[in-house]
Amino acid sequence: VGFEEIAHTADWALHVWADNLEGLFAEAARGMNALSGAKLAEGPKVKRSFEAESPDAESLLVAFLSELVYYAEKENLAFDHYNVQTACPACASAALAWPPGQAGTGEHGEGFKQLNVRTLKVEMEGGKIVSLNKSIKAVTYHNLQIQQTARGYEVEIVFDV
């Protein structure tokens, strides 16, 4: 499980990896906090929850991270604990294999390869931000593709700053 900043000319980008999809989502959130340098206040934890439904895992990831952007900007909140649950009610099993027939889109090659329909539920704990080096303003879909690799799951995310 981990993340690393990767070079991007105009904005910020993260490479994130984890054993499973849930871990990948949590690690992406931690990576975002590390990029922006968010430091949290001591004291009682603030709890928030987030639920989303989307036709693919990448959209769930963007929705989740965009929620964190909103909390940081609107409520001055960031989180350091995430309990992530994913589900795929329409799938016969929770296996995350690429469904046959949905991979690739012909002339553009490997674009738009998607995971099955799934839902996301995250319980988050955190606190008020006491200092922030820089704010992330948006989470992009640019070349966003969660991939299954020997490491488990990996993704590169580009943020607008």
């Binding site: 910020w12 992009t140 879909y141």
Partner: protein
């Protein structure tokens, strides 16, 4: 990866990526750049992103890329694309997250020499009145109904509330208000983000800067623009803050499903789009225009704040301290315009992302005083280097969708800049060169170091040699306020 040999050289300042380069291209890419500037972007994804942009349905003519291009996400920064109205698509990603990010230039008759003893106080006062930085709130508080008026009316709202003059509006693109804005298509979440931020600069590469008019290249046009050699001017560079970012986020997300419904295939999900005449396309256009109006009002409020600062520092001490608006122009926007395509006048949606509208003489919508000169084009440099005032040309109308460059363009990644440059050192260096610096974040300052950008003079030489703009004046910074 696109190589230099894949490009067709048209002249020393123009290149083409032919439509035959990739089978999904709908139009060619036309690049304004010298070979040296091109070579600076060959190892990033700028040109690949320009090729991806040519796959948008309904494109006409060619996709244009400016010499300050650099890698963005989905669509390259410095890109311009026009889609046929109304059947062609509108793409939020081809306009960008910071909808109507742009520049306003205000001119004074204060001579630098007379202002020098007051520059430090002026920088402090501007920093006080023009809130900047991460999480900073704006100079006014508005409730949601009032915000919706801002979204509908843009700078007209500022005029009604005493923050603008009639001349300010006349010297703002579209009079500071895009018609067709629909606040109902802006999410509650976007409104909540924007409500607290109206009248603030934000962070990143946004700034308020005091410059001196260092050189004049076209005295007649400079006089019309109100620019005097040796006198102070103020640039305000910012956009629609969190509101615009949320509008783009919302619609890029929503249109993911829409492209499938309309059978649109794209090489990058950030390019999602919808036909302009579809309900989804109409909704985005209404929301995008509302966000653009927010940005016009935002820069207008900051101009009002800058005027307060100038008044407090200079009123009673010298004459000519009033700040007159030269122009306010966007470089991230989608506009319905009429252009000549293959000898035919065609209504198109011009997507400009990191490219400035640069209408030539006689173009519709320019105030009477700029009808002969062409529109003022504001090209901010990187902090510590020159900025330029250019004028639009007829040639730009014919070859670049009435557009030109928007700045220096980044060349170094933010990650590398953070590791190689210390904010404190940079601040000392700038102060040593006589530039007063007020910055909220030292790491943020380091990311925006001049060495992270291309040479703005080389960018301007390219667009003027290619005749898609002409030189009017060069500005040199004397005080920079950054978040």
């Amino acid at each position: 990866m696109i190589r230099l040999q894949d490009l067709i050289k048209i002249s020393n300042h123009e290149w083409e990526i032919p439509q035959s380069y990739r089978k999904d291209m709908r139009v060619p890419v036309h690049i304004f750049a010298t070979q040296e500037l091109l070579e600076q972007v060959m190892d990033d994804k700028s040109l690949e992103q320009a090729v991806n942009a040519t796959t948008l349905p309904g494109l006409v003519g060619h996709v244009v890329v400016m010499p300050d291009m650099h890698q963005g996400y989905g669509f390259p920064i410095g890109g311009v694309a026009a889609t046929k109205f109304p059947q062609g698509v509108v793409s939020p990603g081809a306009i960008g997250y910071d909808i109507n990010c742009g520049v306003r230039l205000l001119a004074s008759s204060i001579e630098l020499e007379a202002a020098l003893p007051h520059l430090d106080s002026l920088a402090t006062m501007l920093n006080k009145y023009c809130p900047s930085g991460v999480g900073v709130k704006g100079v006014v508080r508005v409730n949601v109904p009032e915000l919706e008026r801002v979204l509908r009316e843009g700078s007209r709202w500022a005029l009604k509330n005493g923050y603008a003059s009639e001349q300010d509006l006349a010297r703002t693109e579209e009079g500071g208000c895009l018609e067709g804005a629909d606040p109902a298509k802006v999410s509650d979440r976007a409104k909540q983000r924007g409500r607290q931020q109206i009248g603030s600069v934000g962070a990143g590469n946004h700034f308020v800067e005091v410059d001196v008019v260092e050189s004049i290249f076209d005295p007649e046009t400079a006089a019309v623009f109100g620019l005097r050699a040796g006198c102070l001017a103020v640039q305000i560079h910012c956009g629609s803050r969190g509101l615009g970012h949320q509008v783009c986020t919302d619609y890029v997300q929503e249109l993911q499903a829409v492209v499938r419904r309309y059978g649109i295939e794209l090489p990058d999900r950030e390019l999602v789009c919808a036909p302009m005449d579809s309900p989804e396309g109409q909704a985005y256009l209404g929301a995008m225009r509302a966000a653009a109006n927010f940005a016009f009002a935002n820069r207008q409020l900051l101009a009002h704040s800058a005027r307060r600062a100038f008044e407090e520092i200079f009123a009673g001490k010298m004459k000519g301290w009033e700040l007159r608006q030269v122009y306010d122009i966007a470089h991230n926007m989608g506009k319905i315009e009429t252009h000549e395509v293959d000898g035919e006048r065609l209504k198109v949606c011009v997507h400009r992302k990191g490219a400035t509208r640069a209408f030539g003489p006689g173009a519709p919508g320019l105030p009477p005083e700029y009808q002969k000169t062409g529109q003022p084009v504001l090209v901010p440099g990187s902090m510590g280097t020159a900025s330029w005032v250019l004028a639009g040309t007829e040639s730009s109308m014919l070859r670049a969708w009435g557009s030109t460059c928007h700045g220096a363009g980044r060349t170094m990644s933010r990650a590398k800049a953070k590791h190689e440059i210390r904010g404190d050192d940079l601040r000392r260096e700038l102060e040593g060169r006589g530039i007063k610096v007020r910055a909220g974040s030292m790491p943020g300052l380091a990311e925006e170091a001049p060495s992270a950008y291309k040479d703005v003079d080389a960018v301007v030489e390219t667009v003027t040699a290619a005749n898609i703009a002409r030189k009017v004046a060069r500005l040199r910074p004397v005080a920079v306020i950054k978040g």
